[in-house]
Symmetry: D2
């Protein structure tokens, strides 16, 4: 018989969540976060994989300087190898093999924070109670501190109960979910190989407290692009014709990009989120950068939109005779539909304990879809939960906070789903 | 001794000018005009060249339909071959060889009208006195009817006095000066070969009555381009993403083109004069056409500007994934500087009879510069006169008219210059 | 007992449809069409209303010249007053009052043709069999010739059976449905007052032959706007700074308008269908016109979009210091949802005779929604049928044609629905 | 008899120039520079004016934070009041009244550095010889360190020779010439009141070593504007229609601004030098800033261009329903023509000692024109010298340096001109 969840103390979850909240680190810079997760997992008895071995191509990587500065700021030391982590190979994969025949169940928890400066006023509980982020411009404003906590405690429960479990368990602590950057790298490295079931989810997301969503839908396909234009400077008064104007290329590009997203084949979106161009008032601007994103109700829409985007970028560069470069800073596929039978099975099992709704829309993008699609492509099944809770402030705002009761609910939902899948 | 100009009756010039005013025909459609000029020249005893033999590539040609419609409308017949004329090979070159050694003097008179509907009210003399244009949307609103008249009467005078003259005389009646289209075709066909002196000029142009400008400057290099974008239509409501939007390509092109003409190396201009795009309100527009022009203080400026224009057009097409086509609809080079000695010689000869100014700016473009540059490239010399007169309405306006006294002045200036060059 | 539909000869319907096909006339120019409808209705014994009495504000009216030219071309005479019709007050409303208590049933049939030049080749049946449109650039390419035919025959049947019917019948022959221009004018004039049931529909629309759609959905709210920019011309070479550039205002407007239709609150569309600007290549363009349309999944979306459109137009004019004018050339509201009970009642009654589907999407706009909303606002009920048939060529194409069997089907559907509503 | 310039040691000039080179400070932040100038002037025996008393409205002022940070960085202390200087009221005006009747001669020396990070390699003499700027992003890359040096030494010479001089001398050390920001503030405060002669000039500027330009021309009128757009953010995926897009307003503004500078009435220029917009990739951008400049061959051109610029900014804001704000960050008038007689008088006096050219073009803007126009408006006369020298690197580049011999030449030119004006 398994050790029961009643032994789980809500205060323990809260404390751990607050510990991670304080060391909020943004995507690919989750150095201290990763190391702390490793420390916990080691203390539970796990052998784990991390560093280059779990990564392929990392999209939207910060610059070497940003990495170095952050590493210097936190100055960590361990008796195990952390060099690769400090180069941005963040995240951890823990595996438990019970040695008994059975299914392979993977779980994914995202660990990164947002590039937001946390509010430091008493109306904001993390500030008032002293667990606000210690890092500048980094705040857990989307609840991933909670996700880490749930993941670590499920890992501990699995280890504690491994004698009563069958098959294999893979617990993925994914970096850089914000900006949909990290999942593809892990999937490429094979961390989802031979998985029968993939469980993941998110707290909050507009779901009411104590409500559980099973089988989320409406994951939009998305691509994040950084666009660079590179022209030639010249004196704007004396010889404007010798310049090649990257600012005007970028301005024309921005306007023309925004004419693209009208699609009959499904909802589509495009946003030029930032544009930075020029070096001085009296110089023909030779440099410009845009950060943009596309979204589509399905892959086809997003792919056709991306193709159109590429034309506009190339054309804008050509029009002003400047060079261009496109960097993919993030991406996530859509998740067209779930396995109804599997979702219903989970629903039926859990609905004695929870108010459940099925098939609610995420209304955004999440790169866990790389993992869900990968698992299902090989015959596996996946479920994405949404755990309802009361929020202070919207996701990504500097006053975001959640009712910590949701930690126990989510912990129990994972635990019970694993129990059911073991039956 | 030459037959004198005193025999020239101003009324004869006026009558002939009014005859041509009535049959105003725009560029490459000067069918009746050309035939009437031929008739006169034949009556003076000239053998003349016309049709394909005096043309190479004609820029800015009207469509077959326009030519056919105009030919049908005027239904001309002659006992000589006029077929090629009715295909747009308009204009005439008359040559008089005195048989005596001497210089070759060419003169150029432009013969086309403007695409303007002539004013039909009594304040406008051509209307009041019954010699307004009989053709719709064609009016001699730039005085070329006067130029023809001067040219024909000079031709007659030359023939009448051929026994007293030396060398050869080439009298060019050039079509399609408006839009700077005709000169290049004639030059290419060799009508300026072996010319020692080229005389040409313009009446009006803001010069005061009875003032004569010798040695005009400020001819701007110019290029006229027609730009076509060709995309794909689609239903704007049901499947906008299937369209390829030529209207937006054209709109972006127009805006981006207008960012180009800032040059430190000399004055430059660009104008997108017309833009016509789309087929219906609810269809993604698949067609667009722009009529544009570039100008430059010198060839280098205009050439660099054209290169930038090409980039913008290509880039605009690429951005919206539409095809493009560029047609050169006209062009004229600049005329950087005249032969000061030659200009002074003419000035000195004529200044007993006229108030003369030297080196005034045209402030625009004229494709006679192809001819002037051609003659000078081969060691010849050229002069461009401006014959001052009172104007009603500005050039190209529907109420343009000029004081017909200028006809006699211009006739005499050409005659006396030829006399001087014969000395 | 009613006189039966079995007496309806399909050939009679075909002949009448072909009669109207030949005199295809576009919106507000349905002069001959209107008069022929009046003639028929009079022959059936109807008193009818037409001309100014059935109109308020007519959107998207052709110019006086276009009306005069068309009136001259067809030269009609009648012993009744047709003057107002020839001024564009087209369409007819026929009313039959049985004198017996009962419901008021209105029916709406649209009568205008499309601005399309009909294909004149033998593969196109109307051409081969000699009933193609006799008018230039006017063709029944959307089946309204069929609608007229159905309406007139229903009118005859009603008159023939008036002793067996109760209540009142209003048969509306609406002009200018294309471009969604006519319905609003009729509604404003009160032709839908006190109506209990409104029946209307469309043949074709992608519905398969012999299939009947009851209760159409997905009518998009739409607005058609004509935008005029009015600047100042100037010589593009000599004094460009004196011009006020309407072409650039229009180009900037077109691009900026196309950045608008991204809406989270429902599907939205915007199309700048045509742009015509400028007067000549070397003149700063002083005139521009755009024809645009907006669409929205619901009124709110379309209204917010229109508000944004207004900002862009005003801003574009202000940016280039030109004047602007906006004319509403057409509009139709959405039709959010039907009366399920009423639709089901019709479906249940008709499904013994037809393959029926309920609630299919129109996927476009139709100004009958003004009438449906008007009727329902006052407690009435409405149904919009789609009558399946095989099509040659898509709607609005120059080779559009339909299988004329659909005429009898539609005739019977209206008849049976009226019978049911009389029970 | 005056104390002679032969007593001036070139090494003294070089040492002082290098002293000021090391403490390079950009416009309105010339704290240490101003204080050091005051120290020198006090040591020469001058009473001086500085702080608020010499300023009115300062254009293009850095933020409070920038001022505070710079003040903290250099931590100066003096036994006289420097508080206002540290608030950006930089610059000094020194006056010497000989007590004898005579003319008032003003001189102006600009003192600010450029926002450029000085090159730190041995090929750059200031780096090699240890006198490179000690401040980050501040470098004397336009020779104003030399101007200060010349001004201080002329001040000393005046004081040393005051017994031999007549009239009054005003020596103006002007801040913030870069970006044409400082002169207007000083003129407004009356520092040029009752001036008979104004002497100023610049070293370098493409003039060859040992050549002296007397009577500079071609000062372009210019205006520097900062433009702010302020919209509303919203989630770009979920509710794009709720955003008000400042980035697109700025992009459209930038493109449309660049369509403006075609002027027949004189050369004009416009440059959008920088554009910074947006806060994050997935947020509708609510903020944008542009830094632009206009130039005109004369005031009328620049004023009309500014008017057009204002329309474009307002229209762009209106089009996207965002707020806007325009800040004037700098300006300078043109200087249409000099007093020929005065210039010739100087030339004639100096040409025994120097190779002189008259009336060379500056080819840019300089806000000394505010002062020159002010003096001439009240009947005074002014001269602007250019002192030729060999340069390393172009003005404003990070490797700019000049041949220090020019310091002595300029010193002597000022001295001799004053001597002449005293005669």
């Amino acid at each position: 018989m398994m050790k029961e969840g009643q032994s789980m103390n809500i205060q323990h979850l809260i404390d751990m969540r607050r510990e991670f909240h304080q060391i909020a680190e943004t995507g690919w810079l989750e150095f201290e976060t990763t190391i702390k997760i490793i420390d916990y997992l080691k203390s539970y008895g796990y052998d784990i994989k991390y560093g280059k071995s779990i990564h392929t191509i990392r999209m939207g990587l910060p610059s070497m300087d940003e990495m170095k500065n952050h590493a210097d700021a936190i100055s960590l030391e361990r008796d195990y190898e952390i060099e690769e982590i400090l180069q941005g190979y963040t995240g951890v994969v823990a595996t438990l093999d019970t040695g008994r025949a059975g299914k392979t169940i993977a779980m994914r928890f995202d660990i990164d924070a947002n590039g937001v400066e946390e509010l430091k006023v008493d109306t904001h509980k993390p500030a008032k109670e002293g667990f606000a982020s210690k890092n500048k411009n980094a705040m857990h404003a989307c609840g991933h501190d909670g996700h880490i906590t749930i993941g670590l405690n499920i890992a501990k429960w699995l280890m504690d109960n491994k004698e009563n479990l069958n098959g294999r368990y893979i617990i993925i602590f994914q970096p850089a979910e914000e900006g949909v950057r990290g999942a593809k790298s892990l999937v490429g490295a094979g961390v989802l190989n031979s998985v029968d079931y993939l469980l993941s989810g998110h707290i909050g997301m507009g779901v009411e407290k104590d409500e559980l969503v099973v089988g989320t839908l409406g994951f939009l396909a998305t691509t994040k692009l950084d666009i660079y234009f590179d022209g030639e400077p010249s004196h704007a008064g004396a010889s404007p014709e010798l310049g090649k104007n990257a600012l005007l290329a970028a301005a024309s590009c921005a306007l023309n990009l925004h004419t693209l997203p009208q699609f009959g084949a499904g909802m589509s979106r495009l946003n030029v989120g930032t544009l930075v161009a020029g070096t001085g008032r009296n110089v023909v601007p030779s440099k410009a950068k845009l950060e943009i994103e596309t979204r589509g109700e399905n892959e086809d829409v997003n792919e056709l939109l991306k193709e159109k985007v590429k034309h506009v970028i190339e054309g804008s560069a050509l029009a002003f005779d400047v060079k261009y470069r496109i960097e993919i800073a993030g991406s996530a596929p859509s998740y067209p539909k779930y396995n109804r039978e599997f979702i219903d099975k989970i629903k039926n099992y859990l609905e004695k304990d929870y108010t459940i709704s099925v098939g609610k829309n995420l209304g955004g993008s999440e790169d866990v879809t790389y993992m869900m699609n990968e698992v299902e492509r090989h015959g596996g099944k996946s479920v994405y939960f949404m755990f309802g809770t009361n929020l202070k402030g919207s996701h990504h705002s500097n006053k975001f906070d959640f009712d910590e009761d949701v930690l126990l609910m989510a912990y129990n939902v994972y635990k019970k789903t694993i129990e059911m899948l073991n039956k």
